[in-house]
Assembly symmetry: C2
Homo-oligomer: 424 residues x 2
């Protein structure tokens, strides 16, 4: 149910992250290394004190490094190890720490061998990647030519790894984390966490629902992560005793569950469509979908799960009234009398697609995603969701208030959530 992170995290160790490159400062690329490093450090029980980005500039790199070293035990730097003239990280770190540079002959030969092996033309600037500050411990790079390195200065550790995400990630896991754990004495401490995924309550409402729970006395922290249109709750328990951490986490989870029960669709990292997939397979049920305003999004989400052909028979996007009438058998007079966006039409769509596909279940949506098409009685954001089985058809009406794209998102989530509730 919950995940054990570490049996020897040391909560007092503070990490700083410095990502280096002009492409970060002009916004050309968004930084994914920092969050990866932060996540890895966190899972060791270490706390990330600061994350910074800086351009390829000697003075700025020294300034940021000094600042980070002033508040942390270890700084992990990423980026600027390439062969081109704008890659200055190694030289900048050496300057900042007053260390001379040397060429490591083994690394130089290794890089040259790669060039020979892949029949690449050698250019002298590649030799730059064999330069290291004196005292550096070299970290091998299994996915590229630029190795990283570690330095120990005044009891603090500095790591320098490439910026290419695939190279950086591997080096963090195989080089940086093991080195940090070796260098710093460690407390025995267990950290366990649990994610609770909810839909249907705003972030404020979730917070409000759980505000009377005494997490502190359980040694559990709670965080809220809105992932539109869902809200995820994360509980983290820490203790020197694994059983105690797990017991406290379970207590906190039980308390939270009791308060927001109706809105929970998963404990852990499962998506709503994965939860539904498991339920449909468990109950050996098949389904077909008839969509109007969601335009195929419900079906697309159901097919995001590998193996969805086991339960999803077909999906119909009956955008026109003609398609609703001819394929789903919605009577023209129903549409004429009640409108294409109505409970009556939604019901007939769900029943019609179920019958057409010969499935156990039929799910339908009809509504107004906007920005046009709304009326006073049926404003933009109106949606009817219906679900038919062999016995009955249920239909619900909802009123949302988002833009077209987010209306489609929340309409499809609403339909899937209704389906999940039915299956449970």
């Amino acid at each position: 149910m919950s995940e054990i992170f570490s049996k020897d995290g040391m909560f007092d160790m503070k990490i700083g992250i410095l990502t280096i490159g002009n492409e970060l400062m002009n916004g050309r690329i968004s930084d994914t290394n920092a969050s990866f490093i932060a996540r890895e450090a966190n899972q060791q029980g270490w706390s990330v004190e600061a994350i910074m980005s800086v351009g390829d500039d000697f003075a700025a790199i020294k300034n940021r490094l000094d600042y980070l070293l002033s508040m942390t035990d270890a700084v992990i730097c990423s980026g600027g190890l390439g062969p081109t003239s704008d890659d200055i990280t190694t030289e900048a770190i050496a300057k900042a720490l007053n260390l001379p540079l040397y060429t490591d002959e083994n690394v130089l030969n290794y890089i040259k061998a790669i060039f020979t092996q892949f029949n690449l033309r050698w250019a002298d600037n590649n030799a730059k990647q064999a330069l290291f500050p004196q005292g550096a411990e070299i970290l091998p790079n299994a996915r590229g030519t630029a190795p990283g390195f570690a330095l120990s200065v005044n009891g603090k550790l500095i790591f320098v790894i490439p910026g290419v995400p695939a190279e950086a990630k591997l080096m963090v896991v195989n080089g940086v984390i093991p080195a940090l754990r070796k260098h710093f004495p460690q407390d025995e401490k267990y950290i366990v966490k649990q994610t609770i995924r909810t839909f249907g309550l705003s972030e404020a409402a979730v917070d409000n629902q759980v505000k009377d729970i005494d997490f502190q006395s359980l040694g559990v922290s709670i965080g809220f992560y809105p992932v539109f249109p869902e809200n995820h709750i994360v509980l983290i328990a820490q203790s020197k005793n694994l059983q105690e951490a797990q017991k406290n986490l379970q207590k906190a989870q039980d308390e939270v569950s009791a308060h927001v029960q109706d809105y929970i669709f998963a404990y852990g990292e499962q998506t709503l469509e994965e939860v539904i997939a498991a339920l449909l397979i468990e109950k050996k049920l098949t389904i077909a979908v008839a969509e109007s305003c969601t335009g195929g999004l419900i079906t697309s989400r159901l097919t995001d799960v590998s193996g969805s052909s086991d339960y999803l028979e077909r999906g119909l996007v009956t955008y026109s009234n003609a398609a609703k009438i001819s394929m789903l058998g919605v009577p023209a007079e129903i549409i004429e009398k009640h409108g294409a966006v109505s409970e009556e039409t939604a019901r007939r769509m769900a029943e019609g697609v179920r019958k057409l596909a010969g499935t156990d279940l039929g799910l339908s949506s009809t509504g107004i995603a906007g920005p046009t098409g709304g009326s006073k009685e049926k404003p933009v954001g109106t949606v009817y969701i219906a679900l038919a089985d062999s016995q009955k058809t249920i239909c619900r009406h909802y009123a949302y208030r988002w833009d077209r794209k987010r209306n489609k998102d929340i309409f499809s989530e609403t339909a899937l959530f209704l389906l999940k509730n039915y299956l449970q």
Copy 2:
């Protein structure tokens, strides 16, 4: 064609960016606001001096803010404006600057009105979003309940905006950038930019195609922004003379276009589905879609455009062979002989859905999104896209290599790109 950004960018202005939230420090989410803000600032000709992230912690926020203020003219803070107890940004900024907090009654009434309008239950913690430090200029939030604010302290500007990306982005463009331009004395300088959206070339390939173009002599900078599965090229020209800036931008655009012509689908901010919508409307053509491996995603993307009911008649997700046979009229022996994933099946699907819907065009996809279902002849990533009109049916085969989700994305992009080429 191009957009005039500024007639008065000031190149010396230094910007600091501070993104706030525990979810950044534990790596649960990766920071996309910082790069967006950096890009916008850069396009104004301002330089981003430092980007930092910090957790929801009073002392740390004060420390980072002081550090950023020491080296910049303006600091843009994002995140921590929600109603929940872990959102402390407003209070932390007020504390750091020694300013008392007050409740803005207009904002409070505005938030309450939203709750009433949408029939949401009011919880008192929502009133927190109407709290501001004394002297704050309130920045409206068109997409959410939490407004941002601006403070002027010792000649420096501090902006605080929400962390929700959609809200933050709109507020940067409509609130922060205009306020910065108003507050700081400015050089007369024109900056014009143009985005060129491409599909079908990797970032390295785009870079390689344009590497011989002399952008420097034109005073134009080029940037590459991969937005999977697309690659966007951004050209920025600067000059004290507007006509010259526009002329140079046009020259650069012409040169780039000549090199990557076949891969361009839009100049400017139009999406591929918007380009297709305009073409279908201009040519008065209607379309129906039959999808297999894309599971409704092609249809869903076509319906992301408001007014899509004018040209999209229906979409069918024929996941099962039975659905392909009964609804689209694909002969069972075709599927048996060539397989559901084959050129023959794709062609019959496109022709079948066109005939069934009575539309001018029929578009189809059949392939293997993975991770299972691949074979040696037809590995995961194989897809056939067919497009039928009254005269003929074209069909193309592609081989990709991504995970299920990205295969679905690139399959649907490929289908839409083929449709765009046909319409042009």
